[in-house]
Symmetry: C2
Subunit: 325 residues, 2 copies
DNA sequence: CTAGGTGCAAATAATTTGCAGAGGC
DNA sequence: GCCTCTGCAAATTATTTGCACCTAG
């Protein structure tokens, strides 16, 4: 399935005038998937039109890179290849040395190491290249297994949503457990309310996910695109339940505040790390929603303190119940 | 400071016969540091000897790559560069787009993502390339700050030892704390013994570290080479102390066994991940020592059970006191 | 009309290769 | 003497450029 095509008339102002040849080359390029070399593209074009020069293809490829339709990638073959970049987030590559195909993925954890290393060495990073060379499943087993990824912006959005949903679920479970454990009536009420809010929020995310699935029927079955350790662990720590027993309403709100703040910062940080794309938006919107919820809880807490006076602070442990990583 | 040079007479058997030109080229290459292009090398050689052909330099570079003295690296400049590989672990690069120098680092976390992604996509990875493009500190600030790394095998060993030491320290502290908390006399004795063993082991590691420092006086001040999140976090979880109070000797031994097993697996896994080098050896030796300690504890535990019969198992939480990641 | 697009052929740039002669064992 | 190394020049490969011509706005 060809990815959704950019409107060329919109891209035109980015440089130069309308031209048959250029349009023809761009169209052929966009219709292909995978990573084409200049030569591959020349061959493809020549099937339609015998009278196209190599130089024009090179010049058009350069134009596409400038216009943001294509990205030049170097797989160490001694020549460059070009991949779509219109609504395709920057990503990393697995490269099969046998069939020379390449497979794309994103990793928050790698981005995070890149930040860490750059900071440690006083380096200002502008772009990073990660390439894993080896043998793909198909080349190793002979079976035809590796379904193509489709449009990566959609995949990124899907994986971002999955992570947000997993986080919400883990939050809901934490609050539900907390409500069951807390002996103080008002403390329990706070946790119950928090759990209900998570349920609301969760259903919003789930309907958004369903909506996404309608845009590509095979979307759910495609392989993971965004790898994200922080999410897999779940954000709530185990083994702190017994400390929740004696929590009152003020303390429960403080716990909620810590949780929402952690979640907000977490998604904000990860969202900011990526290029402009739908997936990034999902992260940032989710971060915003957590922020709103956080602000609400803070207001509630302040009101409570105004009414009741400040109670003794909860014990140390529950405060770190949610890892902020 | 030039890295320690390989004995060329030993490398000779790897292919071909002794030759003046080749030896001359190899010597000039090994005397340089940084990443040379074929052309850089030709220029350097021509200072000594005017009558050397470009083709010979290319052929010798290829020979060096085959012999394991050099590694061909592609920084996307449209030509290859060559770096030392004799006793230099494979690593990743930060590449300054302004001064075109490059800086090396290793990251366990990236290796771990590479494994995870490859497994998820059924890919067999054989090699990976990570390049961070940007601007180095010196180019940005004008100050001359970035000390060169020196011999990376030494750095790798240094960082591996630092991690092992940090782990040992955290183990010692955990057992000391546990001994202080445990009410049962025999349980306390077990933790005290464990803490003492960690002290012994720690002093061994520290003297090895001191020995390493003697090989390069500036070693300690060089920047971090191996980035390793697993270590930074510390391997022992906080907040489980209160559960240690009621632990008896059998239970204490079981906790020790879990800890040592975690540590063993952790270092084995990370050691195996790297290329042959001194740093890798340190990881693997450390893993072995943990394994020996583990076996000892297991024997002790079995003996205890034989004498006392099986006591009730300790509560769930202490068992996961040490994260195995 | 005129700026920019296009084709062709020649130029570049890094690297490789064929071949004849030189040199180590 | 044999086998490999070496130099030189020519070949190769991917990409770029100069220049005359063409075409859309």
């Amino acid at each position: 399935m060809p990815p959704s095509l950019p409107d060329l008339t919109r891209l035109k102002p980015l440089g130069g005038k309308r031209s048959n040849k250029r349009e023809q080359i761009v169209n052929v390029f966009l219709r292909q998937e995978g990573h084409l070399s200049a030569d591959d593209l020349v061959d493809l074009i020549r099937r339609d039109d015998h009278r196209i020069s190599r130089a024009t293809v090179y010049r058009t490829l350069q134009w596409m890179v400038d216009a943001g339709i294509a990205r030049k990638v170097d797989f160490g073959e001694g020549r460059f290849r070009f991949e779509h970049s219109y609504r395709q987030p920057r990503h990393f590559h697995l490269i099969c040395k046998t069939c020379h195909r390449s497979f794309e993925f994103l990793s928050s954890d790698i981005e995070s190491v890149v930040e860490e290393v750059s900071a440690a060495r006083g380096f200002t990073a502008s772009q990073s290249v990660v390439q894993i060379y080896g043998t793909c499943e198909e080349c190793r087993t002979g079976r035809n297994s590796t379904a193509d990824l489709g449009h990566t912006d959609l995949l990124f959005a899907r994986d971002a949503l999955r992570i947000a949903i997993a986080t919400e679920r883990s939050g809901r479970e934490f609050y539900t457990r907390a409500a069951r454990l807390t002996r103080d009536v008002r403390g329990r009420k706070v946790f119950e309310d928090l759990a209900n809010e998570e349920v609301d929020h969760l259903s919003k995310l789930e309907s958004r996910y369903a909506e996404l699935l309608q845009r590509d029927p095979k979307l759910e079955s495609r392989p993971t695109f965004l790898f994200f350790k922080g999410a897999a662990n779940g954000l709530f720590a185990e083994g702190t339940e017994r400390l929740l027993k004696g929590v009152n309403d003020q303390q429960a709100l403080l716990i909620g505040i810590r949780c929402e703040r952690g979640s907000h910062q977490f998604f904000k940080k990860y969202g900011e790390r990526f290029e402009d794309s739908e997936g990034k938006q999902i992260f940032l919107e989710f971060a915003d929603e957590e922020r709103e919820h956080l602000d609400l809880l803070v207001r509630e807490y302040k009101a409570l303190v105004r009414r009741q006076g400040r109670a003794r602070r909860p014990k140390r442990a529950p405060v770190s119940a949610r890892a902020t990583r």
